[in-house]
Symmetry: C2
């Protein structure tokens, strides 16, 4: 008898991956340019030129024994120091290198943090729509994911829904803003209300509740007036899970970090838990070359103007065709209301128009589909008649 | 309440790491050249020039969106195909790309395999001396590590010790050859006897026992007559955990693989378990750049002649001074009998001679110390008078 949970997870492809595979076959049949694949969140904008230059320079001019050698498990000190300094100057925090733990990307950041803080049966609250792997990560760490609906019409945080599920077992609230799959950014009011609710609850019940912020899309914000609150400035018991996958277009290289807020009394315990969980999960250190890379290009991002252009074009066109869409302020996803009750049926019908859209059911919000618009602007243009025809087919 | 197990693991530094930190301080006090640090297994031989050339070529000539993009979770198909073909031609197997799963190094390979096959309470047998993290990895996966003593005088496999601990809960036997910390290679007779014992037991009791081979040191073998048996040629239910950390001197870059033997009836189930466990632990894919690298340099190794030279020099000198050492046939470790009963006391006394040796207690074999000789030949020469003085201090 193998571990049946993990065998199951390995067999059941996510519906996103399933759709992507369908798209590959379909492209072979009718030509790549005739399939409008909005299924995956793989950045279409290349890493900035600074990445190539830095990689070439590091490889050419560093002793390979040092460059490719182990770093300490939490990451190279100078890398952590550089990132801590960068965060401090940008967000007026006072982090040290010892608050940072370098990871193999956002998924690793999350599994490590969850394994650091959860005991069997602990609950983690998140807001739907949410990234489906949260459930897998929380489950493996022995916890239970409790998803509550986001605010109607905006997909922001509906604080009464959070309050309704707070229990003595609540160990964390996990948020993701800019959000996958809605593209929505939780505003300052949302964060302030959330912090107030969990502070009051934990004070009253003598518990600790951590606020975990999953931030792979932090830099992908399109409008100057959109402000992504930095949770450490609002709540002591906060932990940030960051990834360079989207901001530097390096998703396959697996580099990110965990930052533990040193304003919380027990931050050193939490950090020790992070180190121990990383060890138990088999993370020896984050890839050294990419640690050195992010030290060099800290603060740089890919050219995200294409994503903004895609958003603007798609949003105005879809609204013109009669779709209901909450305006995405960041990331590269759009959550669109299905034109029939069952989003899976709607996504099936979209396939007839060669549109590959992911039904929202897996994100905890039925009745919607996700569009990943990290694609070429040309594909967006080519896809518009199909979106129009799909809408017309319901009239 | 945080997860106390993981907090503990994060706080309790391994004694190896502790000694390494002591060495760093001591070097600052009395000068680097006066401390003989044999504590860590960090390769001192640089990655072969082919690594630098391949990295530079790949970075200069690959579309960054493809190069740094996600691969499938199990790894890029062409990378897995190349490695499967290489293994097949070297070991007369018939693996396909679908038997291979690319990982972030040996530790990740092990945690993923253990999480794929173990259910709570399952037992994993290993042979002492053994790598201490085996206990951590097995424990996190819900299992229990059962260590048995290696053969007296040789540190090979003592089959009666294995037979004595086989139970219906035995889910796997985990071996590591060439061995850390003894440098010993398990010969064909050891493997044949082991396979016979577990085959007979599992047949009789209707259980399945997997043989997991942890092979970061496979290529580090010094003498032509030393043959490291390839377990897939001996046992159906075998799984290989490989890493390029030592063979290509890339320990900080985290690249390796799991190979599931497709001769076992349920190999596709095991592979699904591997995919699911990787997902649950947060491993999205192995770093893409290093996947492409190992595809290019598959079969190349660092220049290991220095390790052989170090072994020969150190072995003959230590024996001359009166130390008892089992001749290491591979890896870059030597396991030396302490000159007093308590190896920790012995290692403490060695410090007075500026020799940093790791007591064998953590490896499950008290009374010995480990010497990591992946150091410069010059340091070996400089250290010899200290080894002599240490031995003399016991006369």
């Amino acid at each position: 008898m193998l571990n049946s949970k993990n065998v199951y997870l390995g067999k059941v492809r996510s519906s996103i991956r399933e759709l992507f595979e369908y798209g590959k076959r379909r492209k072979e049949e009718i030509g790549e340019e005739n399939v409008f694949d909005f299924s995956l969140g793989n950045p279409s904008v290349p890493a900035p030129e600074a990445v190539r230059e830095a990689l070439e320079d590091i490889i050419a001019n560093t002793d390979p024994v040092v460059l490719h050698g182990y770093t300490s498990a939490q990451g190279d000190f100078s890398v952590r120091k550089t990132i801590a300094d960068y965060i401090n100057s940008r967000f007026q925090t006072a982090l040290t290198a010892d608050c940072l733990y370098m990871t193999c990307g956002a998924a690793a950041s999350l599994t490590i943090v969850l394994n650091a803080i959860l005991n069997p049966g602990d609950e983690v609250i998140t807001v739907a729509p949410y990234f489906p792997e949260y459930k897998v990560f929380t489950g493996h760490a022995g916890g239970k994911l409790i998803a509550v609906d986001g605010a109607e019409g905006t997909f922001g945080i509906d604080i009464k829904n959070i309050k309704a599920v707070l229990t003595p077992r609540t160990k964390a609230v996990l948020i993701n803003s800019p959000n996958n799959p809605s593209g929505v950014v939780y505003g300052e009011e949302d964060i302030v209300n959330l912090v107030k609710a969990i502070s009051e609850y934990s004070l009253k019940h003598g518990t600790e509740i951590y606020l975990i912020s999953d931030e792979p899309y932090r830099e992908l914000v399109f409008d100057q007036e959109t402000h992504v609150p930095f949770i450490m400035n609002y709540y002591e018991r906060s932990i940030i899970c960051y990834s360079y996958s989207k901001s530097l277009s390096l998703p396959g290289e697996r580099i990110g970090y965990i930052a533990v807020n040193n304003k919380m009394p027990e931050w050193e315990e939490v950090y020790a838990g992070v180190c121990g969980a990383g060890r138990a999960l088999g993370y020896v250190c984050a890839p050294n070359l990419f640690q050195q890379l992010v030290k060099r290009v800290c603060g740089t991002t890919s050219d995200i103007s294409i994503y903004k252009r895609n958003r603007d074009r798609l949003l105005s066109a879809l609204r013109e065709y009669g779709y209901e869409v909450v305006k995405p302020e960041g990331a590269f996803y759009m959550f669109v209301k299905a034109l029939e009750r069952d989003a899976k049926q709607f996504a099936e019908r979209a396939k007839q128009f060669e549109l590959l859209l992911v039904a929202g059911d897996d994100f905890g919000t039925p009745g919607y589909v996700r569009i990943s618009y990290c694609v070429s602007p040309e594909m967006i243009e080519r896809s518009l008649p199909a979106f129009k025809a799909l809408a017309d087919s319901y009239k």
